[in-house]
Structures are given as structure tokens and as C-alpha cells.
């Protein structure tokens, strides 16, 4: 990896983050002259205008909406620099960053286990399908991919919660948001979380497994036509050695790209699923904020998700460069 490439890439990331923050700051202010206006109390009959103005100013200060828009923007950027995303409009005005930190682990439980399960099972299934190319295993994967690409994940989740949750009562269809009040890494806490997370993770993973399976299958088939595979076979290597030692290793490069894209969508991708299963994560936090018109919280979540995606993209690019040195040469 060349240093100039790394620096250029990091500078670009910082620039994009700055634009995202600016967007997130100005979107809620579209067409609103005074964002604090909805929090003003009603002016009672005997109240003089001076006193009412003072009360309004007090409200503006409480919600951090005092000063002109540009002053607010500068303050917002300054606060952001020290990791402060502002205060929520909820009662008690808790810090946005605290609310996010509270919910982030719950979302990560869902999405990380979803990603790992889809990756591992997908690669295994995909390699099998490529090995049995044209036989029933391959066709089954193809048909499954047809269905899962056209069916939205939330519909799969609904069907799962209907049958596994309500009809057969195997897994909870509607999770208790307070299932583990104090998570202490005990076996009981972990198993409760796993039991409650089973359905949402499964609903999300079905699509992921099939898509990883298909990418792996095609990538493996593409690589297995190469000459070094023929060489390996003609050397007399065993089938397993050829598949796992030579084919799969070279076929995994496109999977890294797909994995990177999925990592960048790790916290933003489960909004609907969390809503269906009443999961106590970032998605439900965002939807509650939306129904309360809690703009600082919504914008804080969006900025956090974007920052996460940016860092993930950056890391994916660097990992890709390490794995495939041709990329750094700029395709010349």
C-alpha cells in the first residue's frame, strides 16, 4: 500500500463525513424558521411580551436552539468534534450519544450474528453448490435465491413470527425489551438474549445466506476454470486440497467486497426487523424519535450510522489492497 493512497483515502473520508454532518444539520431546518417554536408554552393572558420573550429564550437555550442558524451550526460542529451529538428533546434532555451507546450493543447482537451466520453458512453452501454444479444442490440454491431476493426481509420475519412465534410457540414472537435488566455475561443472560434474538436473526440471515452462497458459488466456478487449478489437479492433489487450498482461497476476494458492503450497513440495516420483533435497538430508537419529532436524536443516529459506514468502507478498501496488491497499482 502506498502512503499517498492511504492519505488521499482518509482525507476523502473526512470530507464526506463533513458533508454528511452538514446535510444532517440542515435537513430538519428545511422550511422551518424557528425550530424551537413547537416547544414554546402558550402566552397566558396577563403575561407581558418581555416576559414571554424571556421564557422563549429560556426554551431555546434548553434545547440548544438559541442564536442564528449559522451560530448553531458552528456550535454543533464544535460539539461534534468532542464527540457530543447534542441533547435529545425527550423529557430530561438526555445526551444523544448516551442513548445511542445504550442501544448500540442490542443492534450489534442482531446484525453481527446475522452477518457471521450468513457468511459462514453461505460460503459452505456456495462451495457445495459449485462443486455439485448443475445438480439438485445447485438448483435448490438458485431457486432459493429467486425467492429471497424478491421477498422483503420483513415479510419473511412476519411469516416466521406467525408460525414459529404464535402458532407453534417455539421462539418469542415479540421480545420483552427488558429481558435482561443487567447484562452480566452469566449463562442465563446470554441464553435469554440468544433465545429472544433467534427469530430476528434467522429472518435476516435467510437472505444473507443465500446471497453469500450465490456469490461464493459463482466466484468458485469462475476460479476453478483457471489454469493453476488444472495444475493442482494434475499434480494429483486430493479434491479437498484443491477446493479449500487453491480454489476457495482465490475465490474469496469478491466475498470480501460483499462483506465490506454488509459491514457498512451493520447498524442501519435492521430498522424494520427490530420494529417487528420489538427489539430494543437503534432501529426502534430511531422510529420512536421519528414519531416524537426528536430531530437531534434522529440526526445523531444518522451521523453515527454514516460514520460507521465510512470507517467500514475505509477498512474494506485497505483490506482489499492487502489481499490483492493489483488494486493499489490503480489498474494500470
Amino acid at each position: 500500500m502506498k502512503a499517498s493512497y492511504v492519505i488521499k483515502r482518509i482525507l476523502l473520508t473526512v470530507f464526506i463525513f463533513f458533508v454528511v454532518v452538514t446535510l444532517c444539520f440542515f435537513i430538519p431546518r428545511i422550511g422551518v424558521t424557528d425550530p424551537a417554536s413547537r416547544y414554546y408554552p402558550v402566552q397566558s393572558a396577563g403575561m407581558s411580551d418581555d416576559v414571554y420573550e424571556a421564557i422563549k429564550e429560556q426554551v431555546r437555550i434548553q434545547y440548544g436552539l438559541n442564536g442564528s442558524t449559522w451560530e448553531q451550526y458552528i456550535t454543533y460542529l464544535g460539539k461534534l468534534f468532542s464527540g457530543d451529538l447534542g441533547n435529545s428533546y425527550q423529557s430530561g434532555t438526555p445526551k444523544v450519544i448516551d442513548l445511542i451507546a445504550d442501544r448500540l450493543p442490542w443492534t450489534l447482537v442482531l446484525s453481527v450474528s446475522n452477518l457471521l451466520i450468513s457468511l459462514v453458512i453461505g460460503i459452505i453452501i456456495g462451495t457445495m453448490a459449485a462443486w455439485k454444479r448443475g445438480r439438485w444442490q445447485d438448483r435448490a440454491l438458485l431457486n432459493a435465491s429467486t425467492f429471497t431476493t424478491a421477498l422483503p426481509a420483513f415479510f419473511i420475519a412476519l411469516i416466521l413470527s406467525f408460525y414459529l412465534g404464535f402458532e407453534w410457540e417455539i421462539f418469542p414472537a415479540y421480545t420483552d425489551q427488558n429481558m435482561v435488566p443487567n447484562f452480566d455475561w452469566s449463562w442465563k443472560a446470554i441464553s435469554t438474549v440468544a433465545y429472544n434474538a433467534a427469530l430476528p436473526v434467522f429472518a435476516m440471515a435467510i437472505g444473507g445466506i443465500v446471497s453469500y452462497g450465490q456469490s461464493t458459488r459463482n466466484s468458485v466456478i469462475a476460479v476453478s476454470g483457471d489454469e493453476f487449478i488444472l495444475t493442482a489437479k494434475s499434480k494429483g492433489l486430493s479434491n479437498n486440497r484443491v477446493i479449500y487450498g487453491h480454489t476457495l482461497r482465490n475465490a474469496l476476494l469478491p466475498i470480501v467486497t460483499q462483506f465490506g458492503m454488509n459491514v457498512s450497513g451493520l447498524i442501519g440495516g435492521s430498522v424494520v426487523i427490530e420494529q417487528i420483533f420489538n427489539w430494543n435497538g437503534m432501529g426502534t430508537l430511531f422510529l420512536t424519535a421519528n414519531s416524537n419529532n426528536d430531530y437531534p436524536l434522529m440526526m445523531g443516529i444518522m451521523i453515527f450510522m454514516s460514520a460507521f459506514a465510512l470507517v467500514a468502507n475505509l477498512l474494506t478498501d485497505f483490506v482489499y489492497c492487502l489481499l490483492d496488491p493489483r488494486v493499489t497499482l490503480g489498474g494500470r
Binding site: 424478491a150 411469516i159 466456478i221 450510522m305
Partner: protein, 378 residues
């Protein structure tokens, strides 16, 4: 004024001609025909919904008929809280899904082609600005962004279409840009440049026809994606509150306790609707891709969506590292064969060529036997 109208007429004729050619090719393709038939069926349902639906789906006054089981009077029963006829709602739901999917798909095609062609052909600062906007929009999570926008601007259909279009053109613009960067080095473009043609003329008459195939294919695929997204949005209760849509039907069924009462049909019916519409559009898109790109005929079908994504992403990685605009276009992205097809097709589309129609047909017939190769074993 007259000149402008003539120009617009020319463009419309070109587009119509291209679409007509595609329908012909699609009908010959087995998978494409399946997609076309389903889309036609859904379109008939949507257009003649008031004639087909047995009840008024907006009628929420049938208090006596709440939560009925399926019978010959109510084919799929009625909703639990309001007593609306689910079968009629299902038919009316076709309207919102298809119209939003198609209209947004077309708006995205226009936006994406304009910006993609501008970025790819003009290069320089135009390219830089457009690609940085793409970078920003790709990073922000789409669904939350759309939710915020509908919160700020309201949830009418116009807003939903505008928001989806404003944030959905990025993928198409990237694909078109990488194609244009290949096409602009083709000899016929160079010849037009040497002959003194203006940049606008070249973009309209040479580049746009060359990427029109790709454009129509992507429109089908993006429409399918938008349908899923719209269903998700209305499932969250953030779609148009007055309209009947499949996502909203699912949300109503879930919130009114259809699961507790065991009314599985009220969940399954809208799901089948979403599946059919998305599936048919995807089929059409993938069939078009196979028709346009014979090399893709080997291998399976659905993976092409992912393969497509991977290719464009990789291409972006390469391009971002190579900011020297002189060197742009030298690198051949993996989807290079698409451009070959596009270039040859563009040659056929030229109005001076009288053999345009038949020539296209013979090429598509040549592809037919390759269908059998997919079943071969390794």
C-alpha cells in the same frame, strides 16, 4: 421553440423505438416472458381495479362484518378492526405499488442517465462533483434518510417519489458513468468530435443511445427495489396514510392481532402481492441483461444482481485511485463486454441504417441454443 419540440420528439421516438425492440426481444426470452405476463396481469388489476374489486376497499363502516373468515362473499375475509374486504384491498394495493415503482424507476433512469453521462463524458470537475455527491449519498443509510425526509416534507405520493428518486440515482449513475468512459473512446465518438460536433450533440445522439440498453435494464431492476422499499416504508406506517398499499395491509394485520386470531391469509395475501410484483420486474431486468450480455448466459440468473454490484464497486475502487483524468478510461472494468454489445447496438440504432430491425433480431436468435448450456455439470 419548434426546434426544441422537434428535439424532444426525436428523443421520445428513440426511447419508444428502443422500448419496442426490448419488448420484442423479451417476449422471445423464456424468463422475460414470464415477467411480462405477470406485469401485464398486475397492470390490468391496477387499471381496472374499481371494476374487478367486489367491494369498496375504503369502506370502513361495515361494523357487522369485522374479522370475517374467507368465504365466497369475502374471498379473503375482512380486516379485524375495520371490516374492509381484504380481496378488494389486495387489488387496489396493486395501484400504489406499481405506480410508485414505475414512476420512481423512470425518474431515477432520467436522473441517473443525465448525471452518469455528464460525469463520464465531460469528466473534470463535473465528474468530481457528481462522484463526491454519490459518495455522500452512498454512505448515509437510505431508509432512515427517507424516513427523516418524509417527516420533514410530509408523506404524499409526490414526496415519496421525489425522495426515493433523489437518493436512489447513485447506483445507476455509477454504472452509466463507467460505461460512458469506455464508449467515449470508441471510434465513432472520436469521429464525431473531429467533425466538430458539440458536446451536447454527442451526448444525445451517440452516448445516450449507446447506454439505452443498460438504462432500460436498470430501470426494471430499480423499480423492483423501489417496490420493496415502498412496502417497507408503508409497513412502518410512514407511507401515504390515505392510500391502500400492501405494506400498510401487512402492518394493519400485524397491529390488529391477525396473528393471535390465526388469520394467516391476511398476512400472506399482501406478501404474495409484493412478491409477484418484485419478482416479475426482476425477471424482466435479468432477462434483459441476458439478452444484452451473452457472456452472462452461462452461470445462474439471480446472482447477476450481486455480480453487478461487485463489479461496479470494484470499478469505483479503481477509479477513485486514478484521479488523473488523462488516464481515465484506460482501465477496462470487468463489465467491459456490456459496452461492446452497447456499441454494436448503437451502430444498429443509427437512423441511416435501414437494416436496423432485422439485424437486431438475428443476433438475438443466435443466442437461443445457449440456453441449454446452463444445465451442464462441472
Amino acid at each position: 421553440m419548434k426546434k426544441v419540440l422537434m428535439r424532444i420528439g426525436c428523443i421520445l421516438m428513440q426511447i419508444l423505438y428502443a422500448i419496442g425492440r426490448f419488448f420484442k426481444k423479451l417476449w422471445k426470452h423464456k424468463q422475460g416472458r414470464v415477467g411480462l405476463i405477470i406485469v401485464g396481469f398486475l397492470a390490468i388489476l391496477a387499471i381496472f381495479a374499481p371494476l374487478i374489486a367486489p367491494y369498496d376497499p375504503y369502506d370502513v363502516t361495515q361494523r357487522a362484518a369485522k374479522g370475517l373468515l374467507p368465504s365466497w362473499e369475502h374471498l379473503l375475509g375482512t380486516t379485524i378492526t375495520t371490516g374492509q374486504d381484504i380481496f378488494s384491498m389486495l387489488i387496489y394495493g396493486t395501484r400504489s405499488s406499481l405506480s410508485i415503482g414505475l414512476i420512481t424507476g423512470i425518474v431515477i433512469a432520467i436522473l441517473g442517465s443525465l448525471l452518469g453521462i455528464a460525469a463520464g463524458y465531460l469528466g473534470g470537475w463535473v465528474d468530481t462533483v457528481i462522484m463526491r455527491i454519490v459518495d455522500v449519498l452512498l454512505v448515509i443509510p437510505t431508509l432512515p434518510l427517507v424516513i427523516v425526509m418524509t417527516n420533514v416534507l410530509g408523506t404524499s405520493y409526490a414526496v415519496i417519489v421525489i425522495v426515493f428518486a433523489a437518493f436512489g440515482w447513485t447506483g445507476l449513475a455509477r454504472v452509466i458513468r463507467s460505461q460512458v468512459m469506455l464508449i467515449k473512446n470508441a471510434n465513432y465518438v472520436k469521429a464525431a468530435e473531429l467533425a466538430g460536433a458539440s458536446k451536447w450533440y454527442i451526448m444525445w445522439r451517440h452516448i445516450l443511445p449507446a447506454v439505452s440498453n443498460l438504462l432500460i435494464m436498470s430501470t426494471a431492476l430499480t423499480s423492483a427495489g423501489i417496490m420493496v422499499a415502498e412496502a417497507g416504508l408503508s409497513f412502518l406506517g410512514l407511507g401515504n396514510p390515505e392510500a391502500i398499499s400492501w405494506g400498510k395491509m401487512l402492518a394493519d394485520a400485524q397491529s390488529s392481532g391477525a396473528m393471535l386470531f390465526g388469520h394467516w391469509w391476511s398476512i400472506l395475501a399482501p406478501g404474495v402481492g409484493i412478491f409477484l410484483s418484485v419478482y416479475s420486474f426482476m425477471r424482466i431486468g435479468l432477462a434483459l441483461e441476458e439478452i444484452l450480455n451473452p457472456r452472462m448466459r452461462k452461470g445462474s440468473n439471480m446472482i447477476k444482481v450481486f455480480k453487478h454490484l461487485n463489479n461496479t464497486y470494484l470499478d469505483e475502487v479503481f477509479a477513485s485511485m486514478d484521479d488523473d483524468s488523462k488516464r481515465r478510461g484506460e482501465y477496462q472494468p470487468p463489465a467491459a463486454n456490456l459496452a461492446e454489445v452497447a456499441v454494436t447496438d448503437a451502430a444498429e440504432t443509427k437512423p441511416q441504417d435501414p437494416n436496423a430491425g432485422p439485424a437486431a433480431d438475428t443476433t438475438s436468435e443466435n443466442f437461443e441454443p445457449a440456453e441449454k448450456e446452463t444445465g451442464e455439470t462441472a
